[in-house]
C-alpha cells in the first residue's frame, strides 16, 4: 500500500485549496468574466492534483482542453454577447430549483464520503492510479482504444451530434427576419451606378 508522505500531503492540500477557492469564486463572483476566471483557477488546481497522481498527460490535457479552449469559448461568448454585467440572482428562475439542487448535492456528497470510507481512499497518496508501464500516455491510449472503446466512440459520436445540432439550431433563420436586420446588398448589378440609389444601399 502506498502511504502519503509530507510533500504529497502538502501538494494535495495546496491543490485542494486552489480548487475550492476557485469553485467558490465561480458561484460567488457577480461578474460572469470573474466567474469564468475562477473556473480556470479550479481547473489549474485539478491539473496540479493530476501531476501529483503522476497523470502528466491528463494534467496537460486538462490545461490545453479545458482551460485553453473551453473556458476561452465561455469568455468569448460572454464578451461577444455583451452579458458581462452583474445579474440579479434573488429571484429563482425555475420554481423549486434551489431546494432540489441542495438535496442532490447533499446526496452526492454523502455517497462520495461513503465510497471513500468503503474503498479506503487516502488523502494525498502519490501515484495511486498506478501507471503500470510508467508511461501514462501509452496506458491511457491502450485502455481507451481497447477496454473502453465503446464508451470512447459513443462519447465522440455524442459530441458530433451536439455540434451538428448546434449548427442546425443556429442556422434556422427565416428570410423575413434576415432582411430586417441585415443590409441588403446581395448582388451588385452590372450597371450599378445607374440603378442603385442610396436608399437601397442603406436598407
Amino acid at each position: 500500500m502506498i502511504a502519503a508522505t509530507i510533500p504529497d500531503l502538502a501538494v494535495f492540500f495546496v491543490g485542494a485549496a486552489i480548487i475550492v477557492v476557485g469553485a467558490l469564486g465561480v458561484i460567488l463572483a457577480k461578474n460572469p468574466v470573474h466567474a469564468a476566471l475562477s473556473l480556470v483557477m479550479t481547473l489549474f488546481g485539478i491539473a496540479v492534483l493530476f501531476i501529483e497522481e503522476q497523470a502528466n498527460f491528463l494534467a496537460a490535457v486538462q490545461i490545453i482542453v479545458y482551460a485553453g479552449a473551453i473556458v476561452v469559448l465561455f469568455l468569448f461568448v460572454i464578451m461577444f454577447l455583451g452579458v458581462d454585467k452583474a445579474e440579479d440572482i434573488t429571484t429563482e428562475p425555475i420554481v423549486g430549483q434551489r431546494p432540489i439542487a441542495a438535496i442532490v448535492v447533499a446526496a452526492l456528497m454523502a455517497s462520495i464520503v461513503a465510497l471513500g470510507q468503503l474503498g479506503h481512499w487516502m488523502v494525498g497518496t502519490h501515484a495511486s492510479t498506478t501507471a503500470t508501464t510508467g508511461n501514462d500516455v501509452a496506458d491511457l491510449g491502450r485502455s481507451v482504444f481497447t477496454t473502453y472503446l465503446f464508451a470512447f466512440e459513443a462519447t465522440a459520436a455524442l459530441l458530433v451530434i451536439a455540434v451538428v445540432g448546434a449548427v442546425v439550431l443556429a442556422r434556422r433563420v427565416s428570410p423575413d427576419e434576415l432582411s430586417t436586420d441585415e443590409p441588403e446588398v446581395a448582388q451588385v448589378p452590372e450597371d450599378l451606378g445607374a440603378t442603385m440609389t442610396a436608399g437601397e444601399v442603406e436598407q
Binding site: F76, M79, G134, P183
Partner: protein, 411 residues
C-alpha cells in the same frame, strides 16, 4: 522521479549542489531570454529598415544596439494609466498572463547537449518534463487569456473587438498547430522535448522535417505565425481598423510587458520549430578539446536566428490578410490538411497496406470536402451575403466609389 523526467542531474538524488545548478539554469535562461528579446527588437527594426531603404535605430549605442534598452527604461518610468471604465483587477492581471507563458515555453527547449560541471552532468535545458511538448500547447492556450482579458478589461470598444478577433484566431489555429505536433510525436515516439531531439540525431535525413514529409512543417509554420499574431496574420493589431489592438489602453510598464511577450514568443516559437523539425541543437561537432559543448548551442542559435529573420521577412514582404480569409485558411485548409497528413503518417508507420487504404480514404474525403466548399461558397452569394465577393477579392474600387457617390448625392 518520473516528474523530473530523464535529466541525469537527478539520478543521484537531490543535494544542495543540484538545487544550485537548477537555480543557476533558471536565472541564466531568464537573462538570456531577456537579452535575446532586446536583440530581437533591434534586429527586427534594423532588418525592416534595410528592406524599406531606411536607416532604422542608429543613435543609442553602436549601430543603435542599445535602443531597446533605452525604450525599456523610458517605458518603465512613464506614467501608468488605468482607464476609468477598466476592470482594475483583470486589467492588471492580463499582461502577466501573456508574459509568464512566454517564459515558460522556453523552459522545455533543449538549447544544447549535456554538460558535466563540478561532477554533475546536466542537460542544457531548464526542465524536461514527461509531458514536454504539451506544455508548449498548454502555455499558448493560456496566453490567449492575456490577450482576451486585456481587450475586455480595458472597457473600450476597439480593444474589445481586437480581443474577440484574437481569441477566435488563436483557438482556430491552435487546433492545426496541435495536429502537426501530433504528427511529429508519431514519428518521434515520445512527448519529451529532449526525446524528440534525440530521435533526430544522426544525419540531416533524420530530422523530422524530412521524416514527416515537409508538409507538417509548412502547416505548423503557418499555424504558429497566426498563433503569434505576427504578420501577415496580425488582424489583432490592425492599426488601420482597431486604433492599436488589444493593448491600446495600456501604457508604461504594462504595455512593455505585452511588447516583451510578443517578441519573446517569436523567439520561443522559433526555438520550438527548431526543436520539432530541425533537430534542435543537432549539427556537426568538430573534435576540439574542451569546446565540444559550444557547437550544439551554436547550431541551435543559428537555426533560431534564421527563423527569427524569416518572421521579420514575412512582416516586410506580406500584406495583412483579411479576417475572413484568415478564418477560411485556418478552418478550411490547414485543419483538414493537417488531419489528413497526420492520418497518413500514422498509417505509413503501421504498414504500407494501411498507408494505401488511408490515402484512398483521404482522396475521397478531399473530393467530398472540396465539393462541400463549392456548394457552401455558392450559397454565401445568395441573399444572406452582406457584401458579395467578386472573385477572390473585396469589391473593386469603381464599385465602392459608385456606392459612396450615391450616398453623397442623397445627402
Amino acid at each position: 522521479m518520473n516528474l523530473l523526467g530523464t535529466d541525469p542531474l537527478f539520478v543521484n538524488g537531490v543535494s544542495w549542489a543540484v538545487v544550485l545548478i537548477v537555480v543557476v539554469k533558471v536565472v541564466v535562461a531568464f537573462a538570456v531570454l531577456m537579452g535575446a528579446v532586446t536583440m530581437m527588437i533591434w534586429f527586427e527594426r534594423k532588418a525592416i529598415s534595410d528592406m524599406q531603404s531606411r536607416i532604422g535605430p542608429n543613435r543609442v549605442g553602436p549601430w543603435g544596439l542599445l535602443q531597446s534598452l533605452a525604450d525599456g527604461i523610458k517605458l518603465f518610468f512613464k506614467e501608468d494609466l488605468i482607464p476609468a471604465e477598466a476592470d482594475r483587477f483583470v486589467f492588471k492581471l492580463a499582461p502577466y498572463l501573456v508574459v509568464v507563458p512566454a517564459f515558460l515555453i522556453f523552459t522545455v527547449v533543449p538549447v544544447g547537449g549535456q554538460v558535466t560541471l563540478f561532477g554533475h552532468t546536466f542537460d542544457l535545458q531548464v526542465a524536461d518534463p514527461p509531458m514536454g511538448i504539451l506544455l508548449v500547447l498548454a502555455c499558448s492556450g493560456i496566453a490567449v487569456y492575456g490577450v482576451m482579458l486585456a481587450g475586455w478589461a480595458s472597457g473600450s470598444k476597439y480593444p474589445l473587438m481586437s480581443s474577440v478577433r484574437a481569441s477566435a484566431q488563436m483557438i482556430s489555429y491552435e487546433a492545426a498547430m496541435g495536429m502537426n505536433v501530433v504528427t511529429v510525436l508519431l514519428v518521434a515516439n515520445t512527448l519529451s522535448t529532449r526525446g524528440i531531439v534525440a530521435s533526430q540525431g544522426g544525419s540531416i535525413l533524420h530530422w523530422n522535417l524530412i521524416r514527416t514529409g515537409f508538409v507538417p512543417f509548412v502547416l505548423f509554420l503557418i499555424a504558429v505565425t497566426a498563433e503569434l499574431n505576427r504578420p501577415p496574420f496580425d488582424v489583432v493589431e490592425a492599426d488601420s481598423e482597431l486604433v492599436g489592438g488589444f493593448n491600446t489602453e495600456y501604457s508604461s510598464i504594462r504595455f512593455a510587458l505585452f511588447y516583451l511577450a510578443e517578441f519573446m514568443n517569436t523567439i520561443t516559437m522559433s526555438a520550438i520549430m527548431v526543436t520539432l523539425f530541425f533537430g534542435g541543437p543537432a549539427g556537426p561537432i568538430p573534435n576540439i578539446p574542451h569546446l565540444r559543448w559550444v557547437f550544439p548551442i551554436l547550431w541551435f542559435t543559428v537555426k533560431v536566428v534564421a527563423f527569427c529573420f524569416m518572421y521579420i521577412w514575412f512582416r516586410a514582404a506580406l500584406p495583412r490578410m483579411r479576417y475572413d480569409q484568415l478564418m477560411d485558411l485556418g478552418w478550411k485548409r490547414l485543419i483538414p490538411l493537417s488531419l489528413a497528413w497526420m492520418l497518413l503518417v500514422a498509417a505509413a508507420i503501421t504498414n504500407w497496406r494501411w498507408a494505401i487504404g488511408v490515402l484512398a480514404a483521404i482522396i475521397i474525403a478531399a473530393v467530398l470536402l472540396l465539393r462541400a466548399f463549392d456548394l457552401g461558397g455558392a450559397r454565401e452569394l445568395e441573399d444572406q451575403a452582406v457584401l458579395p465577393s467578386i472573385g477572390a477579392r473585396p469589391l473593386p474600387g469603381y464599385v465602392l466609389r459608385q456606392l459612396t457617390d450615391a450616398e453623397e448625392v442623397e445627402d
